[in-house]
Each structure stands twice: as C-alpha cells, then as structure tokens.
Symmetry: D2
Subunit: 338 residues, 4 copies
Amino acid sequence: MTRVGIIGCGLIGAKRARVLAEARFESRLVAACDVARARAESLAAQHPGCAVAADTEALLARPDVDLVIVATTHDALAGLTRRAIACGKHVLVEKPAARAPEELQGLAAEARSAGVVVKVGFNHRFHPALRRAQDLFDSGAVGPLLYLRARYGHGGRLGYEREWRARPELSGGGELIDQGVHLVDLARGFAGEFADVAGHVGTFFWDMPVEDNGFLLLKNATGAVAFLHASCTEWKNLFSFEVFGRDGKLQIDGLGGSYGVERLTFYRMRPEMGPPETTSWEYPGEDHSWRDEYAHMLDCLATGRTPLGTLDDAQAALEVVTRAYALPGRRTAPVERA
Amino acid sequence: MTRVGIIGCGLIGAKRARVLAEARFESRLVAACDVARARAESLAAQHPGCAVAADTEALLARPDVDLVIVATTHDALAGLTRRAIACGKHVLVEKPAARAPEELQGLAAEARSAGVVVKVGFNHRFHPALRRAQDLFDSGAVGPLLYLRARYGHGGRLGYEREWRARPELSGGGELIDQGVHLVDLARGFAGEFADVAGHVGTFFWDMPVEDNGFLLLKNATGAVAFLHASCTEWKNLFSFEVFGRDGKLQIDGLGGSYGVERLTFYRMRPEMGPPETTSWEYPGEDHSWRDEYAHMLDCLATGRTPLGTLDDAQAALEVVTRAYALPGRRTAPVERA
Amino acid sequence: MTRVGIIGCGLIGAKRARVLAEARFESRLVAACDVARARAESLAAQHPGCAVAADTEALLARPDVDLVIVATTHDALAGLTRRAIACGKHVLVEKPAARAPEELQGLAAEARSAGVVVKVGFNHRFHPALRRAQDLFDSGAVGPLLYLRARYGHGGRLGYEREWRARPELSGGGELIDQGVHLVDLARGFAGEFADVAGHVGTFFWDMPVEDNGFLLLKNATGAVAFLHASCTEWKNLFSFEVFGRDGKLQIDGLGGSYGVERLTFYRMRPEMGPPETTSWEYPGEDHSWRDEYAHMLDCLATGRTPLGTLDDAQAALEVVTRAYALPGRRTAPVERA
Amino acid sequence: MTRVGIIGCGLIGAKRARVLAEARFESRLVAACDVARARAESLAAQHPGCAVAADTEALLARPDVDLVIVATTHDALAGLTRRAIACGKHVLVEKPAARAPEELQGLAAEARSAGVVVKVGFNHRFHPALRRAQDLFDSGAVGPLLYLRARYGHGGRLGYEREWRARPELSGGGELIDQGVHLVDLARGFAGEFADVAGHVGTFFWDMPVEDNGFLLLKNATGAVAFLHASCTEWKNLFSFEVFGRDGKLQIDGLGGSYGVERLTFYRMRPEMGPPETTSWEYPGEDHSWRDEYAHMLDCLATGRTPLGTLDDAQAALEVVTRAYALPGRRTAPVERA
C-alpha cells in the first residue's frame, strides 16, 4: 500500500487523486494541502481517510506519507520537491518541475543520497500512440532520425491573460514552458540532446508578459533537426508530432478529447519508393495516460527502476526553454484586440 | 487569337501546351523548341500547326509568336525571358524564374519599356482553396495576421539525386528553390515582405550537392512570422498551409492527386472563444490551377492588368531563398543510405 | 418562471434537471420522484429547493408544478403523460413516448382539451447539423427528395442484455424503438409519412428477447425511400444520415463525443455534373441539443407555438416501428458468444 | 508466353490490353476485334504485333490465341464465352458475364469438358483492402458473421441515360447489374449463398428504362444479413463495405481515384467491450487490382488452380440480381429533372 500526500489541490492535483484512488492501485490518499485551504478540504472530502495538512511542512512531516505529489504553480515545484526529498519521501512532481533549470541543480543527487525516487510528470510519454511510436523508432522501424516536426496548441479562453500562467514569477514563462516543454521532452526521446537552439518566442495575441507562441528550430549533434511550434493562439486544439527517419515516418495526431482521437500512423518506404506502406492505430475512448503514468511510478517504487521522466530530463528540457527565452528579437507587442 | 511559342518541352511545357490548346481559349501553339529536338517534335506532333523551331532565337524571331512560354531548367529561365522581352514577346516563365534574384535585375523595367506582359508561373496561387483563403483574408475574415505555418513536401523517387534538379548549376538549389519557393510566394501574399530570414537548409537523405530540406523562420516588419518547411523527404506527399489571424484561422490542405483532396477550412473564433465556428470547402476532381492561370494570363494580355505573379514577386521570393542559402551551419552530409 | 417536476430520475432525468437549472432559463426544479426513492433524493440534493414527491400522483397534485418531465422506462411514459395532462400540466416526455402507438391513442386530443403543451423529446432534431440540413432541404437546396440512407449504432456494453431495455414489457422493443426511432423520426422530417414498411428486425448477438438490429426499407407515397439501419452491435459508435435530392446531397456525420465530431456536408451538383461543390460545417465542442430543445419547449409554452416533436410525431414513428416488429422471418437466435 | 485475343476494344478492353502488355507478364496481345472496327485498329496500333480480326469467329479461329478476353456489352458476354470455350480457348470474361443467370447455364460444365479455364472479371476481389479483409475474416479475426453493410455509387455524367448501359437489351439492367453485382459478389465471399432476396429496385433520377438504384436486403441460411445499396445518383463517388462479426468489424473505404484512398480498418472488440482496438491499412497510389487479377489468371493457367471469380460465382450473383429485378413495386418514374 502506497500512502500518498498531495501538495496543490487544483485541477491536476485532483486528477492525480482520482487516479491513485482507482481500485486497481494499492494506493491511498492520506493527506492534502493547498495554499487555499478550501481546495484541500474539498479534495479530502472526496477521499475518505484523507487529512487536510495545515501546510506543506506538516504534510511532509507525516510518517504515513510515502509518496508526495507536487502539483502547485511552477514557482513552488522545485523547492517543494527538494523539501520532500529531504524528508525522505518519493516524489511525483508535475512538469516542468521548475521555472528554470538552475532550480533543479543538485536535486537528482540529493534524491539518490536520500534513496528516494523522483519522477517528473511528463504524462505525454504515456499516451499510447507516442509510446508505440517510441518503441517502433527504438526498434529501428524507420531507420536513423532525419528530423522531427511538431505542432501543439490550444486557443486559450476568455481571461487567459489573467490566469496564473500569465504571471512569469509564478510560471517562469508562457506557452513554451507550458505545452512546449512536452514537445521538447518528447523530441529528446527521439533525438537526444540539442546542441543548437534557435527560433522565435513571442507574444502575438494575449496581452500578457509571457509568450503565447514558441517556434523552435533545434539541432542535435548528428545534425537531426526538431522544428517545433507551441501556441496558445492555435484556435483549433491541435497535437501533431512527426518523426522522419531514413526509411519512413511516424505521425502522431490527437490526444483525445478536444484534441481529436489519438492516432499513430506508420509510413514505411518501400525499396521502389513511391507511396509508402501505411498502417494506423487509433486510440479512441478515455485518456489513460495519467493512469498508466501512475502505474509506472508504483512499478518504479517497487522495483527501483529509473522512471520515465527524471529530474535530468526536466533539467535538459528546461535548458532548451531557457535558451529559447534568451534569443534576441522577441516580440512583446500583441496585435490590437478587437 | 493568341499565338504561343514554347521553349522547353518537358513535362511542364507539355502541360502548358495541353492547356492553351483547350477549346475554351482563343489560343494556338505555333512553335516549339527544346535542347533535345526530339522532345519538341513529339510535342509538335500532338499540336497540329505547330512548327519545330531550330533554336530559341529562331522561335523568338517568328513574327507569328505573341506569347512565349519559358519552361526550361532554371539556369535558362531568366536569360530567355530577357531575350523574349527584347524580341517584343509577352512571356509566361515558369517559377522560380531564375536561379538567383540577381538574374532578374532590371527585367521588370525592360518589360515595361517593351510594353510586354511578363508573368511568372506561380500556379499555386490559382488553386481554388488558396485563392478563396486569400480573398477571405483580404476581406478581413480572420483579422490581422499573427503568423503562417506551412508544410510542403514529397518523397522523391528512385534516382532523384541524379535528376537535373540535383545539379546546382542548372537548378540554383534544391528543395527550397523548387517547392519551397511556392511557400515563400504564398506567404508573401499574406505577410508581405520578410525583413528577417532565419532557418536551416540541409541535405539529410539524398546524396546530392543541393539541399533536400528547408526549414524557414521568416518575420515581416509587423512581427508576423512564417514558419515554413519544404521537403523532398516527406515520404507521404503533403501540402498544408495555415494562416492564423487575430480572429480565426484559414487552413488549406491538399492540392489534389497524391497530395489529397484540396480543402479550405475557415475557423472563426466566437466572442466567447472555445471551439471555433468551422466551415470547409472541398475541391475534388481535377486540378484546374494551370487552366485558371492561363485564363488569367490571357485576361492580362487583353486588359493590360498586372498579372498575379510578377517578376518582382519572383525576385522577392528568390531573395528569401538566397538569404536562406547563405545561412551558416548547413548540413551537407546525408544520413547513410541502407 | 417555469416550475418543473421530474418523474424518473435516472440518467436522462438528471440530464434534463441540469439543463433546466442553467442560469439562462427562467426555470426551476421543484419536485422529483422515482420508483427508487434514493434516486429522487440524490437528484433533489443537487437542486436546492427541490422536494422529493412520495409518488407520481403526489408530484402531479402539486399546484407549483407547471411542467412535468417524464423520463421513466418506456412502459410508463404514455400513462404518466396522460395523467399529467389530466392534472393540467404541460409535459415533456422522453422518446419514444410509449411502447406502441396504441398507447398514445387520443392523447393529443386530451392535451388540446386541457390546453397544455406536450412535447416528445426527440432531441436529435436539435442537433445543429441536422437542423441546418433540414433548413437547407426545406429551402430547396437539394431539390426534391430521392431517398434517405442512415446508420446509427453503438456497441453495447458488458451486461447490456440484462438492462431494462432488454425486457420487452418495460421497453416495448430493442434497438429499433431505442435508437432506431430517432432515425424514423428524422426521416419523417424529410420524407413525410411512410406508406410501405419493409425490412428485417433481428437478434444477432445479444442474448435477449428484443432485437439488437433493425434494417428498414421504407417508402413514402411519392416513391422516396428510407434505407435505415439501427444497431447495438455497431462496435464503433456511429451516426450517419444522408439525404439525397435531385440536385445534391446532405450528409450528417457524428453527434459529438464517442460518435465523433458533428458535421454537415452539402454536396451540390453542378449543371455539368462531375464532382459536386462541397461545403461542410463542423460543430465541435459540447452537445447543446438538450439545452436547445429545452429552450424551444419554454418558447412553445410562452408563445403557444406547436413544438417540434408532437405526440402525433411519436405515434407515427411508433407506427413504423410496430409494423417493422410485425414483419415475418424475425431472427431470434443470436450467434454463439465466445 | 500467353497469347491473348481481345473481343471488345472499349475502355475495359483497352485497360486489359495495357495490363497484359506489362513487361512483368509473359504475355502478348496477338489479335483484337470490335463491332466498331476502328476501335480494334486503334488498340492494335498501340500493341505491335497485334492483328485486327475481321470478326469474333475469325479471332476465335486463330490457333495462336491461347486466351480470349471478352469485354463487350453485356448482351454478348455469355455467347462469346460459350463460343470461345467451344474453340478451346481459355477465357477472361468481364463481369457480370451475362445479362441473366440462364445465359450461363451449362457453361461451367462445357469449360470443364473442354479443359479450359474461365474466369469472370470480378476485379474488386483483387483490391488489396478487400483481399486483406477477406483473409482476416477467413482466419476468424472477427468471429462468425453477423451482417454486411455496403454502399457503392457514383453520380453519373451528362447523357448517362443515353449510354448503352441504359438499354436493357444490351445491359440486362441498370445500376444493380453494373456496380451492384460487385457488392453481391463480395458479399457472397463473406456470407455464402443468399436464400432470401428482398429490397427495392427503382429509377429515381435518370430518365431511362433501367434502374438507377438498388437497395438489397439479403439473408443467408444462418440468418446473416447483407444490407446493400448501389446507386448512380450517389453524387459523391463512394465505396464502403462493412463486415460485422461477433468479435469485431472490418471496414473497407475507397477504391482509389475519385472514390478516395482505399483503406481497411479492423475494429477488434476487447473482452471488456467499449471502444474497440483499431488498426487501419491504407493503399495509396495506383489501383493495381487489374494487374493482380491478370497475374492470378496466368497463375491459374499455369497451375490449373480454380480462379477467384468462376462462372458459378457469376451465376449465383446474377441469380440475386434477377430475383431483385422481379420484386414487386418497382419505381419507374424518375423525379422531374430541373
């Protein structure tokens, strides 16, 4: 039985709570806290046996907490993870795990010393189309990598520019550190580290001091390219991730829900070239990535295996984001709103 | 009756010939020539009344030629256009009209002096989905431009690296000057001139001294971005062009044939945001862009109107291509072929 | 302010309750009852000010109930509607409004005498794609009707054969009276009354005494045909409705959610024939048909207008269903389950 | 080397000629004839070494003809096949092989006596999506058959009602014997023989004495149903064939070209039901069914194997068509044309 404490009881914290409480898991929510106590109380009310902790230290001090889920605004993610490690807790911290890579400095080593597992919640890795694409790629199905191309975006909502994500001191950045960091993390799974970071980060529409669009052109040491775009002015929700290899292409579309049915298409070039052999797999129905990610976390706790999505992964992805933020020529003046 | 001479009787020249011979047009092919005389003879055989000219000068000297179609390899496009103008002929020259913008220097002025119309064959402008998108955009349907995103590519064919397009002295470059120049030309229709040219041009797969992929990140003076990718390692033929405005999005997919049914989708944001109003138009059946472009050319001859696709347009698009070619860090080593 | 009582607090009753409680409506749930009192209590708990009535007569006796929503199993729909009319209440009764057309005999007249409005919940009429299709058709956009073709189905769920719908005394029938009645109702909107009813009703998979598939071939007086299939062995949820006119075709796909994005496509034949002009409208996002239907009901109460979906409509649709049930050669032996 | 004579040099005959002349085949066109001699001459001109026979008897008398392809109007198919058999020739006769099943009486026996192979050109069986679907079905992938549902149609063309297909003495019928017979033939591959034939055959739009729509409801001995619609008022070209088994569904869409990319989707139900496992295969590019069918024919000649598409198959499919034609209540008055 894994006993869990949750810090941060917003949308994501509540979703994590629902997942861990599923009958399939030997897992139980024992404590919750939130800067807005009412949110913690509301979550606890839905989970019999869950106490409301007065503050994060009180939660971390509880001996009956084995695993801490950190689901706060970005500014608190790294610090709370550090404290949880110090208290000897395993940690599942939401992406991007920090506002900047420096905040994660030394954290992986501290976790190793403390003998605890820390996983970063890059849940997109657990989407079945992406998982199968990674497996196919790793097995050589499309040969060596040529380049990646990805588009990820949503259309915001009324008042989006007044949400906490628009406040850089809380979020560390805008669209690029929010949805874009998923693209960077996924791209690393195919291309490894990116030596070159070019592109353009800018604010085109939302009147806020963080970017609403990130266009990236990354290169790894072998010359493979990642051409990525993350946007919160996409208007029509979109997720598209394309992996081009010497011998074919893997294309992932959709994430379920308003992003459309999740689908993987495998285009395999034939020796005579021309139209490729084309096979698709669709994943209709509910998004189980959160459940599968949690199952993986429990498995790592049980077996000591390294989780998919480490602190090093988060640090490397944030490194890319931070370098992109430092690029010159940033657009800061959004178009005039109607 | 417009009497036409064709220089260059390959695939494109033959296609132009078929179009001008359609009953709907008051138009007739009177002369053809080609560096490979057999090709000119074969074309002439299909067009009763068409003579084979011994060489380009012989063709240009004919008083019964009103309009010259220049459909040669890129190295000869600009020079022949200049000669045709000097001979007082109207000209329809295939894109990109030259290998580099310098080759077009002064040509527009010469045409004006000679009182002839010169049109560059940017036939994509005449695809109905793109034309309607441009009309909607011009009428303000999606508000001011935020950015453009486009992908255009094919998968080559066996021996592609040994075709004339792979020889820079003939082609002036690879994928970017071939398919990519269409994207740049179309992008100019929405964004105007691009002050900034960044990106990456490289050879990833085909063992040839020109690029097989061009990734562009362009910016105009108002900060609108064009994020464009042209590829001949696309594996699955693809044309996708997306125009993001403040109030909505225009998306063009397909060009018919192996590029899929041509479709325009108009996403209009509602004041309350959320999922946009979504309307699509499909254009199944044959590709009539060549026919419509030729009709437009005849109309310009009749009315003196400025054609869509001028020498200035070609020069501006080639300027972008040339600047992209000059970017540092070009990849030249293709991946090892199986 | 319209004060509403709900009889039958299952899934549909609860959905109706949520809708009427939306702030946009001048409407309030004042009483609920259910054969399982706990269900009524649970519903009332979510709607402040809602009382739990001891039984249907107690609910109908309340002077503060203006409108009764009848959302019970099929066996009780007609009888409760009759009683509600007798008590002077307006009624919104769920489709199919009865198990058989005889149960509705005289009811419309009783409602007229009582001066109350009775609407049957054929909510599909309020799906935007279907509404727009009906409007286009009524305006002559596709000319006179040739035929209709429709497919509607889902894949059931574990234990489906033990749910109340599988008990003919409660349901009056299987798939045909459940989803199929929507198809018949929609078909009547385009074709009017069906003089001929042919087809096949059968039990193919689910081990239950009602049919799981209905194949219908209907004809109206002018020779227009409706070729309809309703299935609960469709495996992949599907809604497709096609209207063929002399001058074009209207095609509706999807109903949102697991049925896919709702879309209307209008194919208009051109005088020269060949590929039609093709325009589509998509309706992503939530299903608002229930809300729009309720708004329409309130509008009918306010204006005295005849509602879309009358008792006569229900009787006519049930007439078709009943005639289909009487067709000889019914398959009753499902395939052997694995 | 197989030496081939073609009787009937229209569209289909010419297509067969092109296929057999492909370098891959040890096959040669040696003679051609047509009621319109010019058509035979035109075909012969494209096939060096091909003689023009004065008439069918002259062609059949040639000792250097091993295989006769009969590609005439329907009225001549059976008679010519009978004569070719009598002359000891192998035969590839186009579907439907006759105007009515009676015309085929005894033919299979005659072929056996003569020791020749006769194959009927049901080329749809050789479309890769249909072939794979049949293989999956035969291997038990979707369990025992519940029912089939198919739609096949095109939108005609100007003057369609004046083509030979509209003359019953030449064609034997309209849409049902033309495209519909493919559906019946394919349906037999999954369901075997159909004991019951119901449905509706009618003329809805085209002013011609043969039907333009056939709606079929067939049943085999085990109660499996085929719900089929063939139409030449489909307006948008469509091919859709769906096979529902106890454990899943096979869906074939498209035939290439104007019918859309050919695709097979396999929906496999999971033990817990809900959304099925979904895998698709696409077949872009050219339609190779004619080539694959011819390769199969040559293989049957070489090995003595029974071809896919026998005279018995044609007779059984025509039996269904003929019974459908005999159904009462046929609509003969098309809607008034605009």
